[in-house]
Each structure stands twice: as structure tokens, then as C-alpha cells.
Symmetry: C2
Subunit: 227 residues, 2 copies
DNA sequence: ACCTGAACACCGTTCAAGT
DNA sequence: ACCTGAACACCGTTCAAGT
């Protein structure tokens, strides 16, 4: 930025100036807009994504974005789906281990969203993009292969969806407010006579998010699959 | 609450009272602000709650609210917890049926949030108010009574929390955009070769939300409780 | 103690206009 | 085809001031 204006060279040819700038700032494109939006969301959260700020990062005027995109909502949709791509693991020789497969898919899904903590809370509110549909399709297949009857398949999928979405949104939110959490626990201890049970098990202090996710998922899968 | 204000014994006819109220609103109070915020949220959604609009409904200037409340965030917190109050059912004589109890609590929780579709997505992001803590305490007790070991109690509670939160947020969002849903299913059918499994089970057309919630919950409880 | 209007520092987006 | 600045119609909140 400072360098841009500090053209001590005096009146260089505007062509050189222009080409330099174009080297530094590649032209706008949907791809670049989406990638930068993800960066901005990662850095500043949902409320930090502003059209003007996004344009700033891209080195363009605020209104230029609107040629590539209808409105801010569309930026959210595109950023969200771009973050949900699933890279399947190298095909394990014997895919007989359906349960390991399901667990891997869901842990990966959760991990992808936690890498972008704004994403989980956005997902349920928006149209399902291709990447998330493809995750659901894979999940369906695995469960089907595991012997879940077609009549139970939708229930099984939505149950797992609910579990993952709920777990990830909760984890991402609590992550943001560790102080509040300590304060809440303190308040809880102070009121231990009103909430003796959750006080006793230290519900709000339990820090093993990954372990709890895995254990709960195992319980759910236990219930879901015919024994 | 109407009774509280109309406690002016033998003052004037109801008609006069009504016209008086239309001319001069009752004074502001935290209680009235919160109740009106809930009304506004129910009618217009999360984005519809604006300080100026809220003040309008209350018949006061926009800035008057700030004497009772620190900022808009606080309005959200108070509105949310006010909607989560749990009225326990008349104590069933024999509370041996722990499972029915748990199911009732969770269905009531979900129903309370669906009556105010903005509430579910707010819940995970905010500090836990007294009403939600009290729900967790009851849930803990019931599970404990059902024989869940203390070591598993937190996992069990968070699993159920995740399930309820995920289910309710999802249901509330899909509810708002029925058109999008039909469109999504149409797109899905068009791409049926890419998503054959979820196409076959009509995942996106499944309309039995209540039934799916109940069945999935049963599966989860099956896994959670020692057999 | 309680309420108010004016004003500030923002937003997303429309529009007419530039290349 | 692609980009722009000015302008509009909003927001939440600060402030000095009223009762």
C-alpha cells in the first residue's frame, strides 16, 4: 500500500504503473472472491465479512464485487460450500470396515467445519451445495452397505447429521468464549444447590471435545445398526 | 401479565382504559422489552429485530431502551432464555419410566424452540441462562436414575444436546424455505446419477420431521443406556 | 430515575457513468 | 465485459440534554 503511492520515480509511464499494479493485483474473479471471503471469515468471523472490507482485500472498489455476485448472501453460500469439499482417503483395500468408514467421514466433516468456525452455523440455513450433497451420498452408501434398511436410512442419516451439526456448532461457539465458560462454571458452582448433578459431573468443565464426540458417535451408531 | 397492569381497581371503564393505553403506553420495563422482543422475533426473524423497531412497538423513543439494557446482544440473551422455561408435567405417580421422562423432556425442549424458530440457532452461541441449565439438570438426574454411570454422564448429555440442537436448527431452517427445498429436490432428481442413494430414499422430500426426531432419539437412547 | 432527538460511524446496495 | 464513485436508505450506539 505504502509502496504503491511512493512512486519516487516521479512520472513513470502510466503503462508501467498499470502493469505493475496488475501484477500485484490479479483481476477479480469469482474464485478469488470466494477464496478471499473464506480468509476474511476465518480471520474475523461471520460479522467481519463486509462487502467493503472484502473489496479492500481484493484491491478493488466495493462495487466491483457486484458484477461477479448478486449479493452478500451468495458470497456466504459459495464460501460455505467451498469449505466442505471431501477428499476421500486412499481407497483402503478391503472396504469391509463400514463403521470405520462412517466414523472417518463424520470426523472429517466435523474437522473441516472446525477449521472454519463460522461454517457450521451457516450450513443448516442454506441450500445444500454439491459438496455437502456428495458427503450425504457417501454416508448413505456406507450405511446401506452396513445393512441399514432403506426404510430406516433417512432417519439414520438425519440423526447423524443432527449429531454432527449440533456438536460442531456447539464446539465452535464455546471455543470462542472460553472466559464465559469459566464464568459460567463459577456461577454454576455458586449455585450448586440448584444444579447438583451437572455440578457433580463438571459438565461445563469437560474439555475433551474430540473424545466426547467420538464416544457419543459410537453410542449413536450402536443404536442405529442392527446387532 | 395483563392483570398486572389493569390492577387499577374501579378506575375507569375498560373502554377508557383501552383508549388511554392507545394514547399513552405503559412505562418501559425489562419485562415488557423482553416480551415485545420475542413477539418481534417471532414475527420477523432474527434479522427483523432492530432497536428502532422494538422501540416503536413499545411506543417509546429508540434510545429509551438503552437505559434498561446495555446493548442489542443483551436483548437476544434475555429473549432466548425467556423462551426456554420448562413447565414440568404434573408429577406422574410412579416415576419409574425414566425413558418416557427423558423423551418428554427432549420433545418439549424441541417444541419450545420450534415455537420460536429463531431460538435454536441462538442457543449454542450464548451463555447458558438459568432455564436451560435447569433443563440440563433435570436431564442429568433422569439419566443418572436410569443407570448411566457418572463417567458416561457428560457424554450422554452432550450427545442428546447435540442431537436436539442439530435437529431443531435444521427443522427451523428448512421450514423457512420450503420453495428452496422443492428446488433442491428437483436439482437432485436431475443429478440422480451423481447422488443415486439419497435420490432413491427421497432424503430431501421426507416430511415426517416429528417422527424422524422421535425415531432417531430412540436409536440414540438405545445406544446410550446399558442394556 | 428515566427518557429523548440529534448526530456519528458505519452498512448493503442502486444508479448513472466510465473504460 | 468489467469496474467505479456518489448517493440512498438504513443500522447500533454515543452524547448532551431534558424531566
Amino acid at each position: 500500500m505504502a509502496a504503491k503511492r511512493s512512486g519516487a520515480q516521479g512520472k513513470r509511464s502510466p503503462r508501467t504503473d498499470a502493469s505493475l499494479r496488475s501484477v500485484q493485483e490479479p483481476p477479480l474473479s469469482l474464485e478469488r472472491i470466494v477464496a478471499t471471503a473464506v480468509e476474511l471469515l476465518d480471520a474475523e468471523g461471520v460479522d467481519g465479512l463486509k462487502m467493503r472490507r472484502l473489496a479492500d482485500r481484493l484491491g478493488s472498489g466495493a462495487m466491483s464485487l457486484y458484477w461477479h455476485v448478486d449479493n452478500k448472501e451468495e458470497v456466504f453460500d459459495l464460501a460455505l460450500d467451498s469449505v466442505l469439499e471431501y477428499r476421500a482417503p486412499p481407497q483402503t483395500v478391503e472396504s469391509q470396515d463400514w463403521r470405520g468408514e462412517v466414523v472417518h467421514m463424520l470426523e472429517d466433516w466435523r474437522a473441516s467445519m472446525l477449521r472454519h468456525p463460522w461454517s457450521a452455523s451457516l450450513l443448516p440455513r442454506r441450500a445444500l451445495g454439491p459438496n455437502i450433497l456428495s458427503r450425504l451420498e457417501r454416508l448413505s452408501k456406507a450405511l446401506s452397505r452396513a445393512g441399514v434398511a432403506d426404510a430406516d436410512l433417512n432417519v439414520a442419516i438425519w440423526s447423524l447429521w443432527n449429531y454432527v451439526i449440533g456438536a460442531t456448532i456447539t464446539r465452535a461457539s464455546f471455543d470462542l468464549s472460553d472466559d464465559d465458560r469459566a464464568a459460567a462454571q463459577q456461577r454454576l458452582t455458586r449455585l450448586s444447590e440448584r444444579y447438583p448433578t451437572i455440578e457433580r459431573t463438571r459438565l461445563l468443565l469437560d474439555n475433551d471435545w474430540d473424545g466426547a464426540f467420538r464416544k457419543g458417535l459410537d453410542f449413536l451408531l450402536d443404536g442405529l445398526t442392527p446387532r
